[in-house]
């Protein structure tokens, strides 16, 4: 049996030990160990079917249809951003952000959260009036308004166009630096992982095959070179062999 116990083990905010999940139809985890420190931004990279979403759902305690074993320790306040914004269509933006909050200042906090994602003044709009990117920004506001210690994001930008995605990356970086939650971002986008995260964990066939720290140097030229190198290594782990020049042009 899996146990989701709130608690802190040896400085890590998330601690996962030998987690196994089996589904009748899709997705497996085969003995995953992972620690995430307070405030750390971890990207979980993998091909489709690698088990990355399965791991995220296990940490979010959303995988009751699976059988499994292992220990998962998570902090008290977790929030999840899904690939779809998952806003309640019958609630205004402000209500979508605040409906789980308690306390007299809930609406004020919601207003500030919407302002933070650039949607101040749109409090009474309905989700259907927003573009996909705007909806996902509301979802971000909703997930951060409760000041989570851990933010789980399951390919949150997967359904957005390339330009909107770049804007979202900038926004997420800013929000994370303000609120400082630990983040586990599930993605299949190598560049997104490099741009956003402190650390990249690669999952393949339900097991972690790489755990790479992203500490790119300040110097621009060196940075570009190291990024290209990191990108090549990650793609190799994902089973994509690229020639070096191709990787460089794609990044520039």
């Amino acid at each position: 049996m899996s146990g989701n116990v709130s608690g802190n083990v040896s400085g890590a905010i998330v601690s996962i030990r030998n987690v196994v999940r089996r589904f009748t139809l899709k997705g497996v985890l085969d003995g995953v160990d992972l620690d995430i420190s307070r405030g750390e931004f971890v990207a979980l990279l993998g091909r489709s079917g690698s088990g990355k979403s399965t791991l995220l759902r296990a940490i979010a305690d959303l995988d009751h249809e699976a059988i499994g074993s292992g220990e998962i320790y998570v902090p008290e306040r977790i929030s999840v951003v899904f690939q779809d914004a998952r806003l309640l269509p019958w609630k205004t933006l402000l209500d979508n952000v605040t409906f789980a909050l308690k306390g007299p200042d809930a609406r004020e906090r919601g207003r500030r959260a919407l302002e933070e994602v650039g949607l101040g003044g749109r409090e009474t709009s309905l989700p259907q009036e927003l573009s996909g990117g705007e909806q996902q920004r509301v979802a971000l506001a909703r997930s951060l308004v409760g000041e989570p210690e851990l933010l789980l994001a399951d390919e949150p930008f997967g359904a957005l166009d390339a330009l909107t995605r770049i804007k979202m990356h900038v926004l997420v970086k800013r929000l994370v630096s303000v609120h400082q939650p630990a983040v586990l971002l599930v993605t299949h986008d190598v560049d997104e992982a490099i741009v956003l995260s402190d650390r990249i964990v690669v999952l393949d066939q339900g097991a972690i095959v790489a755990d790479i720290c992203v500490d790119l140097p300040e110097d621009a030229g060196e940075r570009l070179e190291r990024t290209a190198d990191l990108r090549r290594r990650l793609l190799a782990h994902l089973g994509v062999e690229t020639a070096a020049p191709v990787a460089d042009t794609a990044l520039s």
Binding site: A60, D61, L62, I78, S79, V80, F82, D84, R86, L88, P89, W90, K91, F99, A100, L126, Q128
Partner: protein
Amino acid sequence: MSAKTATILHPEFPDYAGPAPGLGYHRPKASLPEPQVALQERGTGRLGLGKGTPWGWALGPLLVLVYWSLGSLTGFIDSRILPAPWVAVTTGLELFEEGRLQANVAISTLRAAEGLVFGVSAGLAFAFLSGLSLFGGYVFDGIIQIKRAIPMLALIPFFILWFGIGETMKVTMISILVFVPVYVQTHNALRGIDLRYVELAETMRLNYGQFLRHIVLPGAMPGILLGLRFAVMAAWVGLVVVEQVNTTSGIGYMVSLARNYAQADVMLVGLVLYAVLGLASDYAVRLIERRTLGWRRTLAQ
């Protein structure tokens, strides 16, 4: 050329006396006139329903009324078989002056309203019990499906045995007729709540009360209101059945009495009353629908 330098120049014509005849060119005096752009509504797409008109639904009934009026005027429709439409109005006024009309409508409305209140409350209660809990579903849903399969008319003799022939029996009958659509639609709507929203509620750590209030109730509201639309109609239709059994008041009584004396005009008044009351209550529910479900984007908009 950059965007900043791309200004449009309006050259001055110092020696220009006036507009050249036949040329649609006018020298600007103080400023250029505002561009006149005629904006118009562009309707919906090829597969949409197009723009509606507020009273569009009345077209069909109006056509029937025209056909009926013409038939009565020309004698094509025998007045002994179906009186002319205006007879409903004149007979109605006569009945109103006698005081029979309002007395019967009042008692019928009371019965329908009582049945509606009991039936809707019970329908909602049982739908939530069996829709939101597996055990509740195992206990109640089967019973209610069995009840649905038994015709109402076949139950009347038993209801008379159990509840007598007084008001209790009548209101109970109407309640049950109202109960069924409310239960079926609400149950269906509750079981159809999108699992994605349930997941969201779990990740947001909502307690059960918050879950009901923020996710379940608004999510099921379209189904509940659809059930309510069936229910108000069922309440009026139920009157026809129960007011023909040992009754001395109500629209149904008025109609069955008229049937005994072959008073086609009074029978017609009864039918028109049912239609008006039914339509009015359906309209009321649709008003509620429009207020509460304003967030929906559907084909009809």
